[in-house]
Protein backbone atom coordinates (compact mmCIF):
# COMPACT_ATOMS: atom_id res chain seq x y z
CA UNK A 1 0.00 0.00 0.00
CA UNK A 2 1.23 3.46 -0.83
CA UNK A 3 2.12 5.78 1.97
CA UNK A 4 -0.16 8.73 2.26
CA UNK A 5 -0.35 11.65 4.59
CA UNK A 6 -3.55 13.26 5.68
CA UNK A 7 -4.02 15.91 8.25
CA UNK A 8 -7.60 16.11 9.32
CA UNK A 9 -9.24 17.06 12.53
CA UNK A 10 -12.82 15.93 12.39
CA UNK A 11 -13.91 18.22 15.18
CA UNK A 12 -12.96 21.14 13.00
CA UNK A 13 -15.50 19.92 10.50
CA UNK A 14 -18.21 19.30 12.99
CA UNK A 15 -19.86 22.69 12.61
CA UNK A 16 -19.87 22.04 8.90
CA UNK A 17 -22.63 19.88 7.65
CA UNK A 18 -21.01 17.75 5.01
CA UNK A 19 -17.65 17.18 3.45
CA UNK A 20 -16.88 15.67 0.10
CA UNK A 21 -13.63 14.18 -1.00
CA UNK A 22 -12.99 14.27 -4.64
CA UNK A 23 -10.20 12.75 -6.59
CA UNK A 24 -9.35 10.76 -9.65
CA UNK A 25 -9.37 6.98 -9.21
CA UNK A 26 -6.52 5.74 -7.06
CA UNK A 27 -6.21 9.03 -5.23
CA UNK A 28 -6.62 7.42 -1.86
CA UNK A 29 -10.10 8.50 -0.83
CA UNK A 30 -11.40 5.03 -0.03
CA UNK A 31 -8.29 4.29 2.00
CA UNK A 32 -8.72 7.57 3.81
CA UNK A 33 -12.34 6.78 4.56
CA UNK A 34 -11.37 3.40 5.94
CA UNK A 35 -8.88 5.09 8.24
CA UNK A 36 -11.69 7.10 9.77
CA UNK A 37 -13.51 4.10 11.23
CA UNK A 38 -10.43 1.90 11.49
CA UNK A 39 -11.66 -0.55 8.86
CA UNK A 40 -8.09 -0.49 7.61
CA UNK A 41 -7.35 -2.63 10.65
CA UNK A 42 -8.80 -5.50 8.64
CA UNK A 43 -6.49 -4.99 5.71
CA UNK A 44 -2.85 -5.64 6.29
CA UNK A 45 -1.84 -2.00 6.52
CA UNK A 46 1.71 -2.11 7.73
CA UNK A 47 2.35 1.52 8.21
CA UNK A 48 0.11 4.29 9.41
CA UNK A 49 1.12 7.45 11.13
CA UNK A 50 -0.45 10.73 12.08
CA UNK A 51 -3.57 11.57 14.00
CA UNK A 52 -7.27 11.61 13.31
CA UNK A 53 -9.12 13.56 15.96
CA UNK A 54 -12.76 12.92 16.72
CA UNK A 55 -14.17 14.87 19.65
CA UNK A 56 -10.57 15.70 20.52
CA UNK A 57 -9.52 12.04 20.79
CA UNK A 58 -7.03 10.46 18.43
CA UNK A 59 -8.93 7.53 16.95
CA UNK A 60 -5.76 5.93 15.61
CA UNK A 61 -4.38 5.55 19.11
CA UNK A 62 -3.93 2.02 20.38
CA UNK A 63 -6.14 2.87 23.33
CA UNK A 64 -9.16 3.60 21.15
CA UNK A 65 -12.16 1.32 21.69
CA UNK A 66 -12.51 0.40 18.03
CA UNK A 67 -15.92 -1.21 18.45
CA UNK A 68 -17.34 1.95 20.02
CA UNK A 69 -15.65 4.07 17.36
CA UNK A 70 -17.31 2.12 14.55
CA UNK A 71 -20.71 2.71 16.12
CA UNK A 72 -19.94 6.42 16.22
CA UNK A 73 -18.53 6.52 12.70
CA UNK A 74 -20.84 4.54 10.43
CA UNK A 75 -20.04 3.58 6.88
CA UNK A 76 -21.97 3.01 3.67
CA UNK A 77 -20.08 1.17 0.96
CA UNK A 78 -20.01 1.62 -2.79
CA UNK A 79 -21.91 -1.55 -3.47
CA UNK A 80 -25.00 -2.13 -1.35
CA UNK A 81 -24.32 -5.12 0.88
CA UNK A 82 -27.39 -6.30 2.74
CA UNK A 83 -26.80 -8.98 5.33
CA UNK A 84 -28.52 -12.31 4.61
CA UNK A 85 -31.37 -11.51 6.97
CA UNK A 86 -34.76 -9.84 6.81
CA UNK A 87 -35.08 -6.07 6.34
CA UNK A 88 -35.79 -5.65 10.03
CA UNK A 89 -32.88 -7.81 11.14
CA UNK A 90 -30.52 -5.82 8.95
CA UNK A 91 -31.46 -2.75 10.98
CA UNK A 92 -31.37 -4.38 14.39
CA UNK A 93 -28.10 -6.25 13.83
CA UNK A 94 -25.87 -3.39 14.95
CA UNK A 95 -27.88 -2.77 18.11
CA UNK A 96 -28.05 -6.47 18.84
CA UNK A 97 -24.28 -6.99 18.67
CA UNK A 98 -23.88 -3.93 20.87
CA UNK A 99 -25.95 -5.75 23.49
CA UNK A 100 -29.11 -3.61 23.25
CA UNK A 101 -31.98 -5.54 24.87
CA UNK A 102 -34.68 -2.86 25.08
CA UNK A 103 -37.17 -4.01 22.45
CA UNK A 104 -39.00 -0.66 22.41
CA UNK A 105 -35.80 1.10 21.54
CA UNK A 106 -34.94 -1.48 18.89
CA UNK A 107 -38.38 -1.29 17.28
CA UNK A 108 -38.35 2.49 17.43
CA UNK A 109 -35.01 2.64 15.70
CA UNK A 110 -36.26 0.44 12.87
CA UNK A 111 -38.97 2.89 11.89
CA UNK A 112 -36.88 5.93 12.67
CA UNK A 113 -33.90 4.93 10.60
CA UNK A 114 -36.06 3.84 7.68
CA UNK A 115 -37.86 7.20 7.78
CA UNK A 116 -34.57 9.07 7.76
CA UNK A 117 -33.29 7.02 4.83
CA UNK A 118 -36.55 7.70 2.93
CA UNK A 119 -37.33 3.98 2.73
CA UNK A 120 -40.10 3.57 5.30
CA UNK A 121 -43.06 3.96 2.96
CA UNK A 122 -41.69 1.43 0.52
CA UNK A 123 -40.98 -1.35 3.01
CA UNK A 124 -43.19 -0.76 6.07
CA UNK A 125 -45.52 -3.62 5.12
CA UNK A 126 -42.80 -6.18 4.52
CA UNK A 127 -40.19 -5.66 7.18
CA UNK A 128 -39.74 -9.39 7.64
CA UNK A 129 -39.07 -10.12 3.99
CA UNK A 130 -35.51 -10.99 3.02
CA UNK A 131 -33.56 -7.81 2.42
CA UNK A 132 -32.06 -9.25 -0.74
CA UNK A 133 -35.48 -8.97 -2.40
CA UNK A 134 -35.20 -5.18 -2.45
CA UNK A 135 -34.01 -3.31 -5.54
CA UNK A 136 -30.44 -2.02 -5.69
CA UNK A 137 -31.44 1.51 -4.76
CA UNK A 138 -33.61 0.31 -1.89
CA UNK A 139 -30.79 -1.91 -0.67
CA UNK A 140 -28.42 1.05 -0.59
CA UNK A 141 -30.92 3.12 1.39
CA UNK A 142 -31.31 0.13 3.73
CA UNK A 143 -27.54 0.18 4.20
CA UNK A 144 -27.79 3.86 5.06
CA UNK A 145 -30.64 3.12 7.47
CA UNK A 146 -28.56 0.36 9.05
CA UNK A 147 -25.92 2.94 9.88
CA UNK A 148 -28.51 5.44 11.10
CA UNK A 149 -30.04 2.88 13.45
CA UNK A 150 -26.88 3.11 15.53
CA UNK A 151 -27.30 6.89 15.91
CA UNK A 152 -23.73 7.66 14.86
CA UNK A 153 -22.04 11.05 14.88
CA UNK A 154 -20.31 10.72 11.55
CA UNK A 155 -21.46 8.89 8.45
CA UNK A 156 -18.89 7.84 5.86
CA UNK A 157 -20.16 7.18 2.37
CA UNK A 158 -17.86 5.61 -0.18
CA UNK A 159 -19.35 6.36 -3.61
CA UNK A 160 -22.74 5.24 -2.35
CA UNK A 161 -24.49 5.84 -5.65
CA UNK A 162 -21.94 4.43 -8.06
CA UNK A 163 -24.03 1.35 -8.77
CA UNK A 164 -27.41 3.08 -8.86
CA UNK A 165 -29.62 4.47 -11.58
CA UNK A 166 -30.25 8.24 -11.66
CA UNK A 167 -33.61 8.03 -9.89
CA UNK A 168 -32.24 5.95 -7.01
CA UNK A 169 -29.22 8.26 -6.87
CA UNK A 170 -31.62 11.20 -6.50
CA UNK A 171 -33.40 9.50 -3.63
CA UNK A 172 -30.17 8.73 -1.81
CA UNK A 173 -28.92 12.29 -2.26
CA UNK A 174 -32.25 13.63 -1.08
CA UNK A 175 -32.08 11.68 2.15
CA UNK A 176 -28.49 12.83 2.63
CA UNK A 177 -29.64 16.46 2.37
CA UNK A 178 -32.00 15.85 5.26
CA UNK A 179 -29.36 14.07 7.31
CA UNK A 180 -26.95 16.99 7.07
CA UNK A 181 -28.89 18.67 9.85
CA UNK A 182 -28.03 16.02 12.40
CA UNK A 183 -24.93 14.23 11.26
CA UNK A 184 -21.48 14.98 9.96
CA UNK A 185 -21.41 13.38 6.55
CA UNK A 186 -18.21 12.52 4.77
CA UNK A 187 -18.94 11.53 1.22
CA UNK A 188 -16.74 10.24 -1.54
CA UNK A 189 -18.88 11.39 -4.44
CA UNK A 190 -19.09 9.37 -7.56
CA UNK A 191 -18.79 12.39 -9.81
CA UNK A 192 -17.65 15.99 -9.63
CA UNK A 193 -21.27 17.00 -10.19
CA UNK A 194 -22.41 15.04 -7.17
CA UNK A 195 -19.73 16.71 -5.08
CA UNK A 196 -20.89 20.12 -6.27
CA UNK A 197 -24.53 19.26 -5.50
CA UNK A 198 -23.97 17.95 -2.01
CA UNK A 199 -20.89 19.40 -0.38
CA UNK A 200 -20.73 22.22 2.11
CA UNK A 201 -17.01 21.66 2.33
CA UNK A 202 -14.97 19.88 -0.30
CA UNK A 203 -11.50 18.43 -0.36
CA UNK A 204 -9.51 17.46 -3.42
CA UNK A 205 -7.08 14.54 -3.17
CA UNK A 206 -4.55 13.65 -5.81
CA UNK A 207 -2.38 10.55 -5.52
CA UNK A 208 -2.63 10.55 -1.76
CA UNK A 209 -1.99 14.26 -1.38
CA UNK A 210 -4.69 16.59 -0.08
CA UNK A 211 -4.43 19.32 -2.68
CA UNK A 212 -7.14 21.63 -1.50
CA UNK A 213 -9.84 21.97 1.08
CA UNK A 214 -12.41 24.69 0.54
CA UNK A 215 -16.09 25.41 0.88
CA UNK A 216 -18.16 23.67 -1.77
CA UNK A 217 -18.93 26.90 -3.60
CA UNK A 218 -15.33 28.02 -3.80
CA UNK A 219 -14.01 24.62 -4.74
CA UNK A 220 -16.19 24.20 -7.76
CA UNK A 221 -16.25 27.77 -9.03
CA UNK A 222 -13.00 29.36 -8.00
CA UNK A 223 -10.40 26.85 -6.79
CA UNK A 224 -6.98 28.11 -5.66
CA UNK A 225 -4.86 25.29 -6.98
CA UNK A 226 -4.30 24.80 -10.71
CA UNK A 227 -4.63 21.02 -10.37
CA UNK A 228 -8.00 21.36 -8.67
CA UNK A 229 -9.16 23.64 -11.43
CA UNK A 230 -8.04 21.21 -14.10
CA UNK A 231 -9.91 18.38 -12.40
CA UNK A 232 -13.07 20.29 -11.73
CA UNK A 233 -13.18 21.46 -15.32
CA UNK A 234 -12.76 17.91 -16.49
CA UNK A 235 -9.28 18.12 -17.99
CA UNK A 236 -8.31 14.86 -16.30
CA UNK A 237 -9.69 12.20 -14.00
Amino acid sequence: MERSHYEISLWKFLPIKSLSFSDPPGGGKSSLLRVLNRLNDLADVTHQEGKVLLDGEDILSLKTDVIALRRKVGMVFARPVVLPFSIRENLTYGLEVAGEKDSDRINGSVENSLQQAALWDEVKDRLDDPAIALSGGQQQRLCLARVLALEPEVILLDEPTSGLDPISTGKVEESLQGLKQDYTIILVPHSVQQAARTADLAAFLLQGEMVEVASGDTMFTNPRDQRTQDYVQGRFG
Binding site: L39, R70, R71, M75, F77, P84, V97, A131, V147
Partner: protein
Protein backbone atom coordinates in the same frame (compact mmCIF):
# COMPACT_ATOMS: atom_id res chain seq x y z
CA UNK B 1 -14.42 -23.29 -47.84
CA UNK B 2 -17.59 -25.25 -47.42
CA UNK B 3 -15.82 -28.57 -47.12
CA UNK B 4 -13.49 -27.19 -44.42
CA UNK B 5 -16.36 -26.08 -42.22
CA UNK B 6 -18.04 -29.40 -42.88
CA UNK B 7 -14.90 -31.15 -41.64
CA UNK B 8 -14.76 -29.06 -38.48
CA UNK B 9 -18.41 -29.84 -37.84
CA UNK B 10 -17.63 -33.55 -38.15
CA UNK B 11 -14.71 -33.16 -35.74
CA UNK B 12 -16.95 -31.50 -33.23
CA UNK B 13 -19.53 -34.26 -33.55
CA UNK B 14 -16.79 -36.81 -32.96
CA UNK B 15 -15.52 -34.94 -29.89
CA UNK B 16 -18.96 -34.73 -28.33
CA UNK B 17 -19.64 -38.40 -28.93
CA UNK B 18 -16.34 -39.37 -27.35
CA UNK B 19 -17.05 -37.30 -24.22
CA UNK B 20 -20.56 -38.75 -23.97
CA UNK B 21 -19.21 -42.29 -24.16
CA UNK B 22 -16.65 -41.53 -21.43
CA UNK B 23 -19.35 -40.16 -19.16
CA UNK B 24 -21.41 -43.32 -19.61
CA UNK B 25 -18.32 -45.41 -18.94
CA UNK B 26 -18.09 -43.86 -15.47
CA UNK B 27 -21.69 -44.72 -14.72
CA UNK B 28 -21.36 -48.39 -15.68
CA UNK B 29 -19.23 -49.51 -12.70
CA UNK B 30 -21.35 -47.55 -10.23
CA UNK B 31 -24.58 -48.97 -11.59
CA UNK B 32 -22.92 -52.38 -11.86
CA UNK B 33 -21.86 -52.47 -8.21
CA UNK B 34 -25.24 -51.34 -6.96
CA UNK B 35 -27.25 -53.74 -9.14
CA UNK B 36 -24.94 -56.69 -8.45
CA UNK B 37 -25.14 -56.23 -4.70
CA UNK B 38 -28.88 -55.59 -4.80
CA UNK B 39 -29.52 -58.78 -6.78
CA UNK B 40 -27.29 -61.02 -4.68
CA UNK B 41 -27.94 -59.37 -1.32
CA UNK B 42 -31.68 -58.74 -1.27
CA UNK B 43 -32.63 -62.42 -0.71
CA UNK B 44 -30.67 -62.36 2.56
CA UNK B 45 -32.52 -59.40 3.98
CA UNK B 46 -35.01 -60.39 6.63
CA UNK B 47 -36.08 -59.29 10.08
CA UNK B 48 -33.78 -61.88 11.57
CA UNK B 49 -30.82 -60.92 9.38
CA UNK B 50 -30.94 -57.28 10.46
CA UNK B 51 -31.91 -57.63 14.10
CA UNK B 52 -30.55 -61.08 14.89
CA UNK B 53 -27.24 -62.19 16.30
CA UNK B 54 -24.84 -64.32 14.26
CA UNK B 55 -25.09 -68.05 14.83
CA UNK B 56 -23.51 -71.21 13.55
CA UNK B 57 -20.03 -69.78 12.97
CA UNK B 58 -21.62 -66.65 11.48
CA UNK B 59 -23.06 -68.75 8.67
CA UNK B 60 -26.57 -68.23 10.01
CA UNK B 61 -28.46 -65.62 11.97
CA UNK B 62 -28.03 -61.88 11.63
CA UNK B 63 -25.59 -59.00 11.76
CA UNK B 64 -27.20 -56.75 14.40
CA UNK B 65 -24.02 -56.42 16.54
CA UNK B 66 -22.06 -55.25 13.49
CA UNK B 67 -24.72 -52.68 12.57
CA UNK B 68 -24.83 -51.33 16.12
CA UNK B 69 -21.03 -51.31 16.27
CA UNK B 70 -20.70 -49.28 13.09
CA UNK B 71 -23.36 -46.89 14.36
CA UNK B 72 -21.49 -46.38 17.65
CA UNK B 73 -18.18 -45.94 15.84
CA UNK B 74 -19.69 -43.30 13.57
CA UNK B 75 -21.15 -41.47 16.56
CA UNK B 76 -17.85 -41.69 18.43
CA UNK B 77 -15.94 -40.39 15.43
CA UNK B 78 -18.38 -37.49 15.13
CA UNK B 79 -17.96 -36.65 18.82
CA UNK B 80 -14.22 -36.12 18.40
CA UNK B 81 -13.77 -35.07 14.78
CA UNK B 82 -16.65 -32.61 14.38
CA UNK B 83 -15.83 -30.09 17.14
CA UNK B 84 -12.08 -30.27 16.58
CA UNK B 85 -12.38 -30.15 12.80
CA UNK B 86 -14.81 -27.24 12.71
CA UNK B 87 -12.84 -25.35 15.34
CA UNK B 88 -9.61 -25.78 13.43
CA UNK B 89 -11.27 -24.74 10.18
CA UNK B 90 -12.68 -21.57 11.75
CA UNK B 91 -9.26 -20.70 13.09
CA UNK B 92 -7.55 -21.35 9.77
CA UNK B 93 -10.11 -19.51 7.69
CA UNK B 94 -10.90 -16.54 9.93
CA UNK B 95 -8.05 -15.99 12.36
CA UNK B 96 -4.80 -17.57 11.21
CA UNK B 97 -2.28 -15.01 9.97
CA UNK B 98 -0.89 -15.72 6.51
CA UNK B 99 2.58 -16.84 7.52
CA UNK B 100 4.93 -19.78 7.37
CA UNK B 101 3.46 -21.56 10.38
CA UNK B 102 -0.06 -21.42 8.94
CA UNK B 103 1.13 -22.69 5.59
CA UNK B 104 2.92 -25.53 7.35
CA UNK B 105 -0.27 -26.48 9.21
CA UNK B 106 -2.21 -26.46 5.95
CA UNK B 107 0.35 -28.69 4.24
CA UNK B 108 0.22 -31.05 7.20
CA UNK B 109 -3.56 -31.28 6.97
CA UNK B 110 -3.49 -31.91 3.23
CA UNK B 111 -0.91 -34.65 3.69
CA UNK B 112 -2.91 -36.15 6.52
CA UNK B 113 -5.62 -36.80 3.94
CA UNK B 114 -3.17 -38.72 1.79
CA UNK B 115 -2.01 -41.23 4.40
CA UNK B 116 -3.19 -44.79 3.65
CA UNK B 117 -5.89 -45.85 6.07
CA UNK B 118 -4.02 -48.93 7.21
CA UNK B 119 -1.27 -46.65 8.49
CA UNK B 120 -3.86 -44.86 10.62
CA UNK B 121 -4.86 -48.26 11.95
CA UNK B 122 -1.31 -49.05 12.97
CA UNK B 123 -0.88 -45.62 14.51
CA UNK B 124 -4.13 -46.04 16.46
CA UNK B 125 -2.94 -49.40 17.71
CA UNK B 126 0.31 -47.89 18.93
CA UNK B 127 -1.09 -44.72 20.47
CA UNK B 128 -4.61 -45.45 21.70
CA UNK B 129 -4.72 -49.20 22.20
CA UNK B 130 -1.25 -49.81 23.65
CA UNK B 131 0.29 -46.56 24.88
CA UNK B 132 -2.86 -44.95 26.29
CA UNK B 133 -4.16 -48.39 27.24
CA UNK B 134 -7.67 -47.96 25.88
CA UNK B 135 -7.43 -51.56 24.66
CA UNK B 136 -9.25 -52.66 21.51
CA UNK B 137 -12.28 -50.55 22.17
CA UNK B 138 -14.85 -48.27 20.60
CA UNK B 139 -12.94 -45.36 22.15
CA UNK B 140 -9.66 -46.30 20.47
CA UNK B 141 -11.43 -47.01 17.17
CA UNK B 142 -13.38 -43.74 17.21
CA UNK B 143 -10.22 -41.75 17.93
CA UNK B 144 -8.36 -43.47 15.11
CA UNK B 145 -11.23 -42.85 12.69
CA UNK B 146 -11.42 -39.24 13.91
CA UNK B 147 -7.82 -38.55 12.96
CA UNK B 148 -8.48 -40.00 9.55
CA UNK B 149 -11.66 -37.94 9.12
CA UNK B 150 -10.29 -34.62 10.38
CA UNK B 151 -8.66 -33.49 7.12
CA UNK B 152 -11.92 -33.99 5.21
CA UNK B 153 -13.92 -32.04 7.77
CA UNK B 154 -11.36 -29.26 8.06
CA UNK B 155 -10.96 -28.69 4.35
CA UNK B 156 -14.67 -28.82 3.50
CA UNK B 157 -15.51 -26.55 6.44
CA UNK B 158 -12.83 -24.08 5.41
CA UNK B 159 -14.21 -24.12 1.89
CA UNK B 160 -17.72 -23.46 3.21
CA UNK B 161 -16.52 -20.56 5.38
CA UNK B 162 -14.54 -19.03 2.53
CA UNK B 163 -17.56 -19.12 0.24
CA UNK B 164 -19.44 -16.69 2.50
CA UNK B 165 -18.90 -13.29 0.84
CA UNK B 166 -16.12 -11.16 2.31
CA UNK B 167 -18.45 -8.15 2.18
CA UNK B 168 -20.61 -9.61 4.99
CA UNK B 169 -17.56 -9.60 7.24
CA UNK B 170 -16.65 -6.02 6.38
CA UNK B 171 -20.19 -4.76 6.90
CA UNK B 172 -20.60 -6.60 10.18
CA UNK B 173 -17.33 -5.20 11.51
CA UNK B 174 -18.26 -1.73 10.28
CA UNK B 175 -21.43 -1.64 12.40
CA UNK B 176 -19.45 -2.46 15.51
CA UNK B 177 -19.59 -6.24 15.71
CA UNK B 178 -16.54 -8.08 16.94
CA UNK B 179 -14.95 -10.71 14.77
CA UNK B 180 -16.36 -13.44 16.99
CA UNK B 181 -19.89 -12.00 16.77
CA UNK B 182 -19.50 -11.82 13.01
CA UNK B 183 -18.49 -15.47 12.86
CA UNK B 184 -21.23 -16.61 15.20
CA UNK B 185 -24.11 -14.60 13.83
CA UNK B 186 -23.34 -14.43 10.11
CA UNK B 187 -20.49 -16.60 8.88
CA UNK B 188 -21.29 -19.87 10.67
CA UNK B 189 -25.04 -19.86 9.99
CA UNK B 190 -24.42 -19.11 6.33
CA UNK B 191 -21.74 -21.77 6.05
CA UNK B 192 -23.63 -24.37 8.08
CA UNK B 193 -25.13 -26.38 5.20
CA UNK B 194 -21.71 -26.65 3.54
CA UNK B 195 -20.14 -27.65 6.85
CA UNK B 196 -22.81 -30.30 7.48
CA UNK B 197 -22.30 -31.73 4.04
CA UNK B 198 -18.57 -32.02 4.65
CA UNK B 199 -19.09 -33.55 8.07
CA UNK B 200 -21.47 -36.19 6.78
CA UNK B 201 -19.23 -37.08 3.85
CA UNK B 202 -16.29 -37.43 6.24
CA UNK B 203 -18.25 -39.62 8.65
CA UNK B 204 -19.55 -41.70 5.78
CA UNK B 205 -15.99 -42.51 4.83
CA UNK B 206 -15.21 -43.40 8.44
CA UNK B 207 -18.24 -45.68 8.62
CA UNK B 208 -17.08 -47.68 5.62
CA UNK B 209 -13.40 -48.05 6.50
CA UNK B 210 -11.94 -51.40 7.48
CA UNK B 211 -8.22 -50.87 7.97
CA UNK B 212 -8.29 -48.27 10.79
CA UNK B 213 -10.63 -50.40 12.92
CA UNK B 214 -8.83 -53.65 12.16
CA UNK B 215 -6.33 -53.31 15.02
CA UNK B 216 -8.14 -50.86 17.22
CA UNK B 217 -11.70 -51.97 17.83
CA UNK B 218 -13.09 -54.70 15.64
CA UNK B 219 -13.95 -58.04 17.11
CA UNK B 220 -13.84 -61.13 14.91
CA UNK B 221 -16.90 -62.63 16.55
CA UNK B 222 -18.62 -61.02 19.50
CA UNK B 223 -22.28 -62.01 19.56
CA UNK B 224 -23.42 -59.37 22.03
CA UNK B 225 -23.80 -55.62 21.97
CA UNK B 226 -20.98 -53.43 23.36
CA UNK B 227 -21.75 -52.18 26.84
CA UNK B 228 -19.27 -49.31 27.22
CA UNK B 229 -16.92 -47.17 25.09
CA UNK B 230 -14.08 -49.36 26.32
CA UNK B 231 -15.73 -52.45 24.87
CA UNK B 232 -14.67 -53.99 21.58
CA UNK B 233 -17.38 -54.39 18.99
CA UNK B 234 -18.14 -55.96 15.66
CA UNK B 235 -18.43 -53.54 12.75
CA UNK B 236 -19.96 -53.89 9.30
CA UNK B 237 -16.89 -53.39 7.08
CA UNK B 238 -14.70 -55.67 9.16
CA UNK B 239 -17.48 -58.24 9.47
CA UNK B 240 -17.78 -58.25 5.70
CA UNK B 241 -14.04 -58.81 5.40
CA UNK B 242 -14.20 -61.67 7.91
CA UNK B 243 -17.12 -63.52 6.37
CA UNK B 244 -15.74 -63.07 2.88
CA UNK B 245 -12.22 -64.34 3.50
CA UNK B 246 -11.86 -65.98 6.88
CA UNK B 247 -14.85 -68.31 7.21
CA UNK B 248 -15.02 -71.30 4.87
CA UNK B 249 -18.39 -72.40 3.58
CA UNK B 250 -20.02 -68.99 4.08
CA UNK B 251 -23.34 -68.71 2.19
CA UNK B 252 -22.90 -66.12 -0.55
CA UNK B 253 -26.19 -64.39 0.24
CA UNK B 254 -25.01 -63.56 3.77
CA UNK B 255 -21.91 -61.88 2.32
CA UNK B 256 -23.86 -59.81 -0.15
CA UNK B 257 -26.61 -59.13 2.35
CA UNK B 258 -23.98 -57.62 4.66
CA UNK B 259 -22.53 -55.60 1.79
CA UNK B 260 -26.01 -54.35 0.95
CA UNK B 261 -26.63 -53.19 4.52
CA UNK B 262 -23.28 -51.37 4.59
CA UNK B 263 -24.04 -49.78 1.23
CA UNK B 264 -27.46 -48.59 2.39
CA UNK B 265 -25.94 -47.22 5.61
CA UNK B 266 -23.34 -45.19 3.70
CA UNK B 267 -25.57 -44.17 0.80
CA UNK B 268 -28.30 -42.88 3.07
CA UNK B 269 -25.76 -40.59 4.74
CA UNK B 270 -24.74 -39.46 1.28
CA UNK B 271 -28.34 -38.72 0.34
CA UNK B 272 -28.84 -36.71 3.53
CA UNK B 273 -25.74 -34.65 2.71
CA UNK B 274 -26.88 -34.01 -0.85
CA UNK B 275 -30.35 -33.01 0.30
CA UNK B 276 -28.99 -30.53 2.85
CA UNK B 277 -26.75 -29.00 0.21
CA UNK B 278 -29.41 -28.58 -2.46
CA UNK B 279 -32.00 -27.22 0.00
CA UNK B 280 -29.48 -24.66 1.27
CA UNK B 281 -28.56 -23.61 -2.28
CA UNK B 282 -32.21 -22.94 -3.02
CA UNK B 283 -32.62 -20.81 0.11
CA UNK B 284 -29.31 -18.96 -0.05
CA UNK B 285 -29.53 -15.18 -0.22
CA UNK B 286 -26.32 -14.39 -2.04
Amino acid sequence: MKSSSHLRYKQQQFGFSLLTIMTFLTIIPIAGVVIYILVLGTPAISWEFIFGFPRGGMREGGIWPAIVGTFYLTLGTAAFAVPIGIGAAIYLSEYAPDNKATRLIRIAIINLAGIPSVVYGLFGLGLFVLFLQFGTSILAGSLTLSIMTLPVIISTTEEALKSVPQAFRTVSISVGATKWQTIRKIILPQALPGILTGVILGLERAAGETAPILFTVAAFFLPRLPSSPLDATMALPYHLFVISTQVPGMPIKIQYGTALVLLVFVLSMNIIATTIRSRARARRQW
